[in-house]
Structures are given as C-alpha cells and as structure tokens.
Amino acid sequence: MIRSNRTHLALAVGAAALLAAGCANSGGGGGDAGGGGGDAGGGSPLVIGASVSLTGDFSDSGKAVQRGYQLWADTVNAAGGILGRKVQLTIVDDASSPTQVVTNYQNLINKDHVDLAFGPFSTLLTIPASQVAKRYGYAFLAPAGGGPKVFEQNLDNYFFVQPAPTVQSGDVFVNYVLGLPADQRPKTAAYAELDDPFATPLAENIRTKLEAAGVRTVYKQVYPSETMDMSPVMAAVAAQHPDALIAGTQNEDAYAQIKSLVQLKFSPKFLFQSNGANSPLEFPDKVGAGNTEGIVAPADWYPGSTAAGSADFTAAYIKKYGGDAQSIDDSSAEAYAVGQLVSAVAAKTNKVDNATIIGALHSGVWPTLLGDLSWSANGAPKGEFNLVQWQKGKLLPVYPQKVAQAAPEQPKPGWAG
C-alpha cells in the first residue's frame, strides 16, 4: 500500500514536471519566435548568452572562448555599445557535456530571454546546441563546430566562424604543394592519422587530393588514441623514406611523433601536422625549440595577422590578460570574431536581431580578424585556412601569398636534436 502510494506520488510529480516543461517550452517558443529580443531599443542592454566549457575535457579551449567573448564585449562597450545598447554577457558552464549544453541554451533562451546566443566549444556540443537555437529562431554563430556532422544538419541559422570547414583545413597545404615547380614537389608521402573525428578526415582529404595529383602513398595507418608510444609507427614511416609526412594529429600524439622522428634521425622534406604544431607555446616546449624549424600546420588567426581588427584584438588581449601575442589561443580569436560579425551586421543594417543577422550573413563577404568570411546555406564557410610554418622559433604565415609574412622554407631542414 505504501509502495503504491509512493508510485502514484512519483507519477503525479513526473506528470506535473512534464506539463510544466511543456508549458515553458511552448510559452517561450511563442514569445521569442522570429526574433528573441527587440530592435535597436536604445538604452536597454543587449543581453548575449553562451554556454562554454569552463570545466571538463574542453575546459582549456572553453576558457579561451570565454576570454574572446568577454574581450569583444569590453571593447564594444568601451566604444559605447552596439547601436547605443551596452553588451551584457551571460556565460554559463556546460562541463563539456552535450546534455548540459542543451539545458543551458534552453534556460538562456526561455528563462533569461537573452537577445542573442553565441556558440559553445567543439563540434560535439555545437550539434545539439544549434538545434535548440534553430527551434527558437536564434542566429547561432559558433567559434568551434566545424565537423561534417554540423553541416549535415542543414540549419540556415548556423554559421561556423572559421575560414573553412574543419575537414578542409588541410586544403591550403595541398594547394601550396601543388603550386610548387614539379621538381620540388614531394614524389612520395606517408600518412599517420589519429583515430579522431577531426584528425582522420582532415588527413584523408589531403591524401585523396595528393594521390590524384600523382603523389604516391608509401605508408598509411590510423592509430588509436590510446597509442602512447609513437616510435614503432614512426619507425615504419622512416623505413619508407617518404618525401612528405602528413600527420593527422591532435596534441599529445603530435609532440610524440616529432620526438620519435628526432630519435630515429628521420627528417622528411615536408612535415604537415593538422594540430599540435600550430600551438605557439606548447609545441616548442614539448618537442624542443630547435626541432620546430620548417614544420607546417593550418591556422586561421596567427600572431601578427593584419586581418581586420586583429591588431586591436591583440593589444586588448595583452592589456587584459597579460602575456604576449604568441600566448594567445586561436580559440579566443575565433570567439572574438563571432562578436565582430554581430558588430558588423549592426553597423551595416542598423538593426541587431536574430532574423537580421541570419539574413545579412547569408549574403556578402564579412571581414574579421580571421580573414574575410562568407557562408554556404548550411553554415559552412567558403574560404581557406592559412598555412603557417615554424621559422627561427616563430610561427609565421607563409601561404597563400596575400597573407604570407615570409617565404616558405623548403625543404624542411634536419633536426637540431
């Protein structure tokens, strides 16, 4: 009897909770549909909500994103706000969890009634978050969410704020290599790829294109993420003496690959890493500063970039957070670019609401500190990454020509040891 009473009570509470949730959803949906927030009200703050991973697996990058958003808000407010409205950020932590991120955006939109919503960190969290934003008609600009699955959703409110979808970030290396005179191009290539939704497709995309251009593949292996020791894999690569090594890497494995290659005394003429080598502080620290020379990687923002607003961003960042340009995580720059786009739309249309932002960004080209951005209907950016190369201890853009600050160093010199 007691048990049955409890069951009934639980059912009743459950039903009530469902009902309440349903009401909240439909109420919020009705109230905010088609805009979320008014036009240029003048005076009332422009409230922007974002869920960011301040704890958990993505917390390092998540905090970098938070710094980027905050820096943009500070900069805009110092100049009088957007269309006279002060920007007010509401940032909540999702602990790197794809379920928490959904709850967070539902709360931001339905409870806090934020005017705009900015994206979280990583493809994993951006997919569910962008669905919530779509349901309530919010424009969704995300600094990190460029995996193929995001674009397969075909959301017209979504904009990935980087130069190109993640998988295509290696295209710039392919274009560089194929632009070289025939006798300088690599004849053979090895591919060592981390089993990862970012690294593998990126390296495979390069392989397809280089093979089509006649570069022979002499080694290709995918290694699991628990591979601690890269030496045997690199020994197999070295035994094939490839001209180029295309490494689909993240972080730890990227450093381990270089250390192993140095120990094995094998230095390929071209060495591309999808990630790891583009980290200005970590990379030389992990592999030894003398062993970075000539290694290339893709990047959107880089220290010393002359793209729109980059100098202001760099100065403001150093003033607020200290360090130097080399210590800025590119995730901060990408987050800052999200804000830049909102400023740009407001300046151009004299309006700052979700429908206007969605409509405006779907046409034309928008300058940011990551370069000029434009998007396909599904939010995939139409541009290209930059190729950066380590030269004398510095990470410099070397390709394409229009951003290059130094000539590419080719072939890659041997290891310092």
């Binding site: 699991p224 601690m228 020994a235 730890e252 250390k259 005394k265 970590e282």
Partner: protein, 292 residues
C-alpha cells in the same frame, strides 16, 4: 625488415619500464592480495614529481629518482594505512579494487588541480639523443631507462631475498598466520610492501615522463596494460612481471611497426587470452602461495 628490427629494439628497451611498474603491482598483490588500481596514477604522480624537480631546480630526472621513490614510498604507506587497513581480510581483494580505483581518481583530481590538465613532458638536453648502430637507432633515454629498470629490479630482488625485512615480507606472502605467530607485524609489513610497490612506480614515472608526454588522465591507459602484464606473468610473481612486460612491449612495438598500430594493442590481448586458456594462473603464477 628494417622496421621489424627497429620495432624489436624499441620493444625490448621499453620493456624495462613496464617491468618496473608491473613489479610493484605484482608485489602489492603478492603481499596483500590487493589489486592496486592506483599503480598507474602513482606512476603519473612520479612523473609529475620528476617534472617539477626538473623544471624548478634543474634536477635530472634520473638523479631525482631517489627523492621521488622515497616520496612515493610514504604516499604508498599512507594509502595503505588510511584506505586499505580498515578493510576486512576476508573480502580485501574484492574491495581493494574499488578502494584503490577511488584512490586513483583522487590522485588524478589532485594532479589536475596542481599541474592543470595540459600535457607535460620532461625535456632534458639528451631527451632526443640516439646512437646509430648498424643503421638502427638506439635511443639514449630508453637505454638508460632499461638499465635503471634492471638496477631497480635487482635492488628489489636483493631486498626481498637478502634482508630481514624481505624475509618478513616473503613469510607474510607464503603463510600470513605462521608469520604472525613468529612475530612478524602484518600491518607494518603490509604498509612497507605497499610503499615498496608505489616506490617502483616513482622510478618508472621519471622514465615515463622522459619518454612520453603525459597529463593527469594518462593513468587509464597505463593501468589496463599493467594489469594485463601482471596477469600474463602470473599474479604475485616479480619475474613473471618482467617476462610479461617483455612480451607486451615487444609484441606491441613489432606489430605497430610492421602490421598496424590498431592491431598492436589487440595482439597482446590475443596472446594473453591464449596463455590464460592453457595456463589460467599465468606464465609464472604458482598454485601455492609464495612465489614472489
């Protein structure tokens, strides 16, 4: 062929490090019937301590080993005293899995707060040195690590077989009741045994930090390997742990170099399963107690 031989060399040299970690693991099981899930985390703690001594004082990780082993010896004694001693002897083996796993998570948490979750690596001036012998590369750090492991295992052997303490430990393993009757203090021996086990983790940790980048979460990959090595060698057998380490290290390096890195992890488990099918107690596990 070149990749095969190079893989073989790498595998043999790396085996020393695994043997060191696994000898501590198997010692703890032998003395206390405790499956120590925290051994991997202890190795990483050892690596962080060596890293810190290197970064702050420029102390070479090999020279830092005496300091870190003593430090981790006391950490091990404390863990045994606080977390394991209260467990009843009857169900200590089962409960110890959960308790030591909790210790591993606790250590991981503490390490990520103290050193953040960024990857670390110990970059000494000789970290990437290697010698070319007949066209193959012998990496300096791996060779030193191999020699240090041999030295540490030798010291462990002497301690267990040539000292009073060693006799007390072995007596506790062979027959705890009789040992107690003859005046061996079980609690003290257990604490020292656990401390010795974690001290080997410290020595291995210094080397681990030289060989691989690591972060506070690196212990998960380690512990599954260590348990497999100990199972393969036979629970409680230090010699078995060394042979098990050689098998796992060489097989994974050779397969990764010649077949595929995906199969390298798999090969070892296939070997492990085959051995356990034929010899369920592992290669050197004895049917009677007392085979340290």
């Amino acid at each position: 062929m070149h990749a095969l031989v190079q893989g073989l060399i790498l595998g043999v040299l790396t085996a020393g490090v695994y043997a060191l970690m696994a000898s501590g693991q198997t010692l703890i099981f032998g003395v206390m019937r405790v499956v120590n899930m925290a051994q991997g985390a202890m190795v990483i703690l050892g690596a962080y301590l060596a890293y810190q001594l290197f970064v702050s004082f420029g102390l070479d990780p090999f020279l830092a080993t005496p300091i870190t082993t003593v430090a981790l010896f006391f950490v091990g004694v404390a863990v045994q005293w606080v977390f394991l001693r209260p467990l009843h002897a009857d169900d200590r083996s089962q409960l110890s899995v959960l308790v030591t796993f909790a210790v591993a998570l606790l250590l991981e948490g503490v390490m990520s707060v103290v050193w953040s979750t960024n990857d670390r690596s110990i970059n000494t001036s000789y970290a990437n040195d290697s010698w070319t012998v007949l066209g193959y590369q012998i990496t300096a750090v791996r060779l030193w690590a191999f020699l240090l492991s041999l030295f540490a295992l030798g010291a462990l052997y002497l301690l267990l077989n040539r000292t009073r303490l060693g006799r007390a430990i072995r007596a506790s393993v062979q027959n705890p009741e009789s040992a107690r009757l003859l005046g061996v203090e079980a609690d003290r021996v257990s604490a020292i045994g656990f401390g010795l086990g974690t001290a080997t983790a410290a020595a291995a940790g210094s080397i681990y930090g030289l060989l691989y980048p690591f972060n506070s979460g690196s212990h998960y990959d380690l512990i599954s390997r260590l348990l497999s090595i100990v199972l393969l060698g036979g629970l409680g057998s230090v010699g078995g742990a060394a042979v098990g380490a050689l098998v796992i290290s060489v097989s994974s390096a050779v397969v990764a170099a010649t077949v595929s890195p995906v199969w390298s992890e798999m090969t070892f488990f296939v070997v492990l399963l085959l051995v356990l099918l034929v010899r369920p107690r592992g290669l050197f596990g004895s049917t009677v107690r007392g085979a340290i």
